[in-house]
């Protein structure tokens, strides 16, 4: 009998539902729906209430993550797998989500003014997080696609949440290019499915060792998968949307994108490439290594000539994606590549969020500029910041030095471990390029400090308005700064936790 006809006559074999395995995701989904209802039926709810509810949802998800910490299994017939990468990424993503909630709660309104960003941003944040967490746990290409779309669709809307021209332009660019690249990813999934007969990563891993599988189809599929992932982590030459979107979108959303999308994107990158496609490492490693070289150098070189801090941070995030790709390239043959990359993501997430928080703080200074296309984030606005706002400048210094990779801050250890893994995997030439790129990047990070500490403020400092009360942002800044310093001083425990992520379950 024809297999399809057979399938229709027999009851569909439903997978066993494993609620516990996806408990954190469920908590996020429930919290997101609840918030959506609150926003819809209680329009006068304050941002504080919404932020509180969001944080409560995140806390519930975090508690469930801790409850599941020692759980290692493949659930839903291989659609979702719980392993080190999943729990590490969950923890980092939820922490990033909490910081982003604080930033969003602060918003860009001053006291007594209506806020520009609508309250729907809170449920969207939760849905985006849901997609990210699911992406990190996905072990079936179908789930990968769904999760990627959940997070992307939420982020498209968040990017354009304000009515500024720049935000709308960012949303449109992100949307069109994101949809364009996810079509490539989808085609890649189709080709992998055609070549191996399955979308399950465990079965694909088995099939890649099978000599009868269609090699050309599979390799083309792998290439298109790489395109989709490289776009999400903004690697060259798929990076061009990044600077425009980060610059145009509201700062809290840009921070969330820069940190969380990278964590989720690299988690799935590691699981698919270093895990399932590990057997094809000889084929794809040159691609990833080549993309890493381009990404590091282009990101660093273009960051040097920027005059807008948000845009510069976007290029810096591109070059950081390059360092992470070194870790991915190493990960298939060296387990340390996985843990180094995960640790890198952890440190990077807090550094870059911190940097964006300072941007958000500074954009509140000065007269409100309704006519401006975007927010105030020009480097000019940072001149003499140290005199006016020593705490903000000090934190900026911490984040910039950490991003540069100067010991003893966290960024140094992140680079150190990734580079070490690269050398261990025999990619010494790649690490040499990475070191050169980090030398170039020191230039623009420190230039920000020179502007903040060594230059006189322009204009009349008296004309500047006070930043207003910023309790949420203050807490977020303090946490990010504390984490960046603390991880630098005592990275040991987190490295050990990352090492437990080295074993990938399908």
């Amino acid at each position: 009998m024809h297999p399809l006809a057979q399938a229709t006559t027999q009851p569909l074999p439903l997978p066993e539902v494993d609620w516990r395995a996806i408990a954190p995701e469920l908590a996020l989904a429930v919290a997101g729906v609840v918030l959506l209802l609150v926003v819809a039926f209680w329009p006068r709810a304050g941002r504080g209430v919404l932020a509180g509810l969001t944080l409560a949802g995140l806390a519930a998800a975090a508690a469930l993550t801790v409850w599941n910490w020692d759980l290692e299994r493949v659930a839903f017939e291989g659609a979702v797998s719980l392993d080190g990468i999943t729990r590490y990424a969950r923890a980092v993503l939820l922490a990033v989500g909490a910081l982003a909630t604080l930033m969003v709660a602060q918003g860009d309104s001053r006291e007594g003014e209506p806020d520009d960003s609508p309250p729907e941003v809170f449920p969207l944040l939760l849905f985006a997080l849901l997609g990210m967490v699911l992406l990190a746990a996905a072990s079936d290409l179908l789930v990968v696609f769904i999760a990627l779309e959940i997070l992307s669709l939420s982020l498209y809307v968040m990017a354009g949440e304000t009515r500024r021209l720049a935000a709308q332009e960012a949303a449109m660019k992100y949307f069109l290019l994101g949809a364009f690249s996810s079509a490539f990813l989808l085609y890649g999934i189709a080709l992998c499915y055609g070549a191996t007969g399955s979308t399950n990563l465990l079965e694909i891993a088995d099939a890649t060792g099978d000599p009868t599988a269609d090699g050309t189809l599979l390799l083309a599929g792998v290439g298109l998968l790489a395109v989709g992932f490289l776009f999400k982590v903004s690697a060259v030459p798929f990076h061009m949307w990044t600077p425009d979107v980060y610059q145009g979108t509201p700062t809290p959303v840009a921070a969330f994108m820069a940190a969380a999308t990278k964590v989720a994107g690299f988690a799935v990158f590691l699981r698919v490439f270093a895990g399932a496609l590990g057997g094809l490492v000889v084929s794809w490693r040159p691609v990833i290594a080549g993309a890493a070289v381009l990404t590091m150098l282009v990101g660093a070189a273009l960051a040097v000539v920027q005059t807008d801090l948000k845009r510069m941070l976007a290029y810096s995030s591109i070059s950081h994606a390059g360092y992470l790709l070194v870790g991915v390239a190493a990960a298939a043959t060296v387990p340390a590549g996985v843990s180094a990359s995960m640790f890198y993501l952890l440190t990077y997430a807090f550094m870059v969020m911190g940097a964006f928080m300072v941007v958000q703080y500074v954009s509140r200074l000065g007269p409100p500029d309704d006519d401006a296309i975007g927010e105030r984030s020009s480097l000019e606005d940072y001149r003499g910041l140290a005199r006016r706002h020593p705490w903000a400048a000090g934190l900026l210094a911490v984040f910039m030095l950490a991003l540069t990779g100067i010991p003893p801050l966290s960024g140094f250890w992140a680079k150190y471990y990734v580079f070490l893994a690269g050398i261990e995997a025999g990619l010494t030439w790649l690490v040499v390029v990475a070191v050169i790129s980090s030398v170039i990047s020191a230039f623009f990070y420190l230039r920000v400090l020179v502007v903040a500490y060594l230059q006189e403020p322009v204009g009349d400092p008296g004309a500047e308005t006070a930043p207003g009360r910023t309790p949420a942002l203050g807490v977020a800044l303090g946490l990010a700064g504390l984490l960046t310093v603390a991880i630098g001083l005592a990275p040991e425990a987190l490295i050990a936790a990352a090492r437990s992520a080295e074993r990938i379950l399908g």
């Binding site: 061009m240 691609v287 273009l302 100067i406 003893p408 690490v431 230039f443």
Partner: protein, 632 residues
């Protein structure tokens, strides 16, 4: 800042007392160290454990052994004096509390560097001093500095022009040169960890002898690359003269006495690695000797007093590298020269600062002359340091330079070449240093109308006097009193190893005589040219062909500029057809220009148009798939 406005005035004193306290602690620990017998003088303080993971254990371990004790004493001692001096020198600067906090941060970083017990902690200090140097060179970021153009008045009738520079480009140049060196340090560190599995000094040095020759050479040369950046050796020395844009106490502390000697210290500290590679030692020797000669030649052609001293520093650092490249017979000599140089060069810089202080911040040697009577203390203390650097017998420089040269001679082979260059350079040193003091303090008064040179306040002259005394007696004191057997060398032997044999006294005396004699010739020639009533500017014009290359710094900057800017520009133009090359100053800036120009062409691709971005995505996708499917 932290202490409020009222305490701002006290910032200098607080900073000075903190460093002085560190010096006292170091001194106490030093005597404690002396109470142990030679072999037990290495104490390792197992500090706060940074973290352990796998086979990598990193902790803030500190090492207190004769070598680090020596460095710690020099750093804290000289720093205390320079801090004290700075209170007077920076008195009218409105950001002096910032200045002192950075200066203190520098001292702390330098101590981390010298006391480190593993490469990572050392790198922490290494980066820290680089950062402080960058910040302090650019301290007067908003001040236009006049740099004396030595080509002025080369043709009669032309104006005696000076060139304006800004501190930020100088800071940038220093930063870039140092980062190039840092790449060497980082790569060396990775290589060390990859081959020995540890970064701890004891473990690494224990295995250094077993390294394959090629690996040892690679590590040693990468470390030396770091040294050429930090210690301003050929080919990366070009940043140091520009770094004189910083305040003079910074030049004295960072760019003469302490930070620039970190490279010498690094070679001495990792000497087992260098000993495992004869090639690396030869490279260090030749680079040291070559830099010593080159910088001394350039120093002759400079008219800016700080530039003369800067090139002199580069040249003297070359001597130190000759010393530490020679193996056990030269280590102690190189380190002794490091110590004596710290004293006399710090004095010379502070003396130059005092001259500038009394002469409206002028640095043009052509505008001085006859300052002897106006600034007696500065004059006499500078003469003491002059005696030391020229090598007048029984001053400190005589001992240290003599030991370096004797060790080179004894080393034989390539060492003889270094010896010959060293002796010749000693003559040149005597000439340019004598030219400096004679044109500044002797002869006719050439300063402009309306200027009233005056002596500096006591807070500045006291450090001058202390340093001058040290410059005179340190060599004699150190070689006679330190350690058992009365030898500096014996004190360092537990760390640096013992030489196989001792030089014969007769030969040593002969060698000293040769160097001293040549130095005397240099000084006498300078006296004839610059002190007697004599139109030396006319002579300069007559010999313009010979003098111009020296004034132009032997065209090194131009060569760099040519290679980095022109070739870099050509490359960038090749990438992006038309690249605008606007005014580019300095050689190393060309590297930044290469990055900048390729970035500008990259920005053009970033057009803001969705469709061109989509084209990028498509192009990347086609490339990747084609590569995967069609690769052989």
């Amino acid at each position: 800042m932290l202490f409020g406005q009222r305490l701002r005035a006290l910032a200098g004193w607080i900073a000075t007392l903190a460093v002085a306290a560190a010096f006292v602690v170091a001194l106490a620990a030093f005597f404690e160290l002396l109470s142990h017998p030679g072999e037990e003088r290495t104490q390792i303080l197992r500090g706060y454990e940074w973290f352990t993971s796998g086979d990598l254990r990193v902790a803030f371990d500190l090492r207190w052994d004769p070598l680090s004790a020596l460095m710690a004493l020099v750093v804290t001692g000289v720093s205390s004096l320079i801090h004290l001096y700075s209170i007077g020198y920076m008195e009218h600067d409105e950001r002096r509390e910032t200045f002192f906090s950075w200066l203190n941060l520098f001292v702390a970083s330098m101590l981390v560097l010298v006391l480190a017990q593993n490469f990572l902690v050392m790198f922490l200090g290494w980066e820290g001093v680089g950062l402080c140097s960058y910040l302090l060179v650019g301290f007067w970021f908003n001040r236009r500095l006049l740099v004396v153009n030595p080509l002025g008045r080369l043709v009669e009738g032309e104006p005696d022009d000076t060139r304006e520079v800004w501190a930020p480009p100088a800071a940038k140049k220093a930063f870039l040169a140092n980062r190039i060196g840092d790449v060497g340090f980082l790569l060396a560190m990775f290589l060390i960890f990859a081959t020995t599995g540890s970064l701890d000094f004891d473990v690494v040095f224990g295995e250094a002898g077993a390294l394959a020759a090629g690996t040892a050479t690679a590590i040693a040369l990468l470390l030396f690359l770091a040294c050429t950046g930090k210690s301003a050796q050929f080919p990366l020395y070009v940043w140091l003269p520009d770094a004189m844009a910083g305040p003079t106490p910074v030049s004295a502390l960072i760019h003469a006495a302490t930070m620039v000697t970190a490279g010498v210290f690094l070679v001495a500290r990792t000497h087992t690695i260098f000993e495992a590679s004869g090639t690396a030692q030869t490279v260090v020797l030749l680079v040291g000797a070559g830099t010593a000669l080159l910088a001394a030649l350039i120093a002759i052609g400079q008219d800016d007093i700080k530039k003369i001293l800067a090139y002199s520093t580069v040249s003297q650092l070359g001597y130190m590298f000759i010393g530490v490249a020679l193996g056990p017979i030269g280590y102690a000599a190189g380190m002794l020269h490091l110590v004596t140089h710290a004293f006399f060069k710090a004095q010379l810089f502070l003396g130059a600062g005092s001259v500038m202080h009394g002469n409206d911040d002028d640095t043009d040697i052509k505008h001085f002359g006859g300052l002897r009577s106006a600034m007696p203390i500065t004059f006499w203390t500078t003469m003491a340091a002059w005696a030391a650097i020229v090598g007048v017998p029984f001053t400190s420089g005589f001992y240290s330079k003599d030991q370096v040269l004797a060790a080179a001679f004894e080393h034989g082979g390539i060492g003889l070449l270094a010896w010959a260059i060293g002796v010749f350079t000693a003559g040149l040193t005597a000439f340019y240093m004598s030219r400096y003091v004679f044109l500044t303090f002797f002869g006719e008064r050439r300063w402009p109308e309306g200027r009233h040179p005056h002596e500096s306040p006591p807070v500045m002259t006291v450090p001058l006097i202390v340093l001058a005394v040290l410059a005179l007696v340190a060599g004699f004191a150190l070689t006679t009193f330190t350690g058992e057997g009365g030898r500096f060398q014996a004190f360092l032997e537990p760390v640096l190893g013992a030489p196989e044999e001792h030089e014969s006294l007769a030969a040593a005396a002969g060698l000293s005589a040769a160097a001293t004699g040549l130095a005397a010739v240099g000084a006498i020639v300078a006296w004839l040219l610059y002190v007697r009533p004599f139109d030396w500017l006319a002579l300069r014009r007559r010999w313009a062909g010979a003098w111009r290359p020296l004034a132009e710094k032997l065209y090194v900057d131009q060569v760099y500029e040519f290679f980095t800017v022109n070739l870099g520009g050509a490359l960038a133009a090749f990438l992006a057809r038309n690249v605008d090359q606007r005014g580019i100053d300095g050689a190393v800036n060309g590297v930044a220009e290469l990055v900048g120009s390729s970035a500008r062409s990259g920005r053009r691709l970033q057009s803001g148009l969705v469709r061109s971005y989509a084209l990028g995505v498509l192009g990347g996708a086609v490339l990747i798939v084609a590569f995967l499917v069609f690769r052989p």
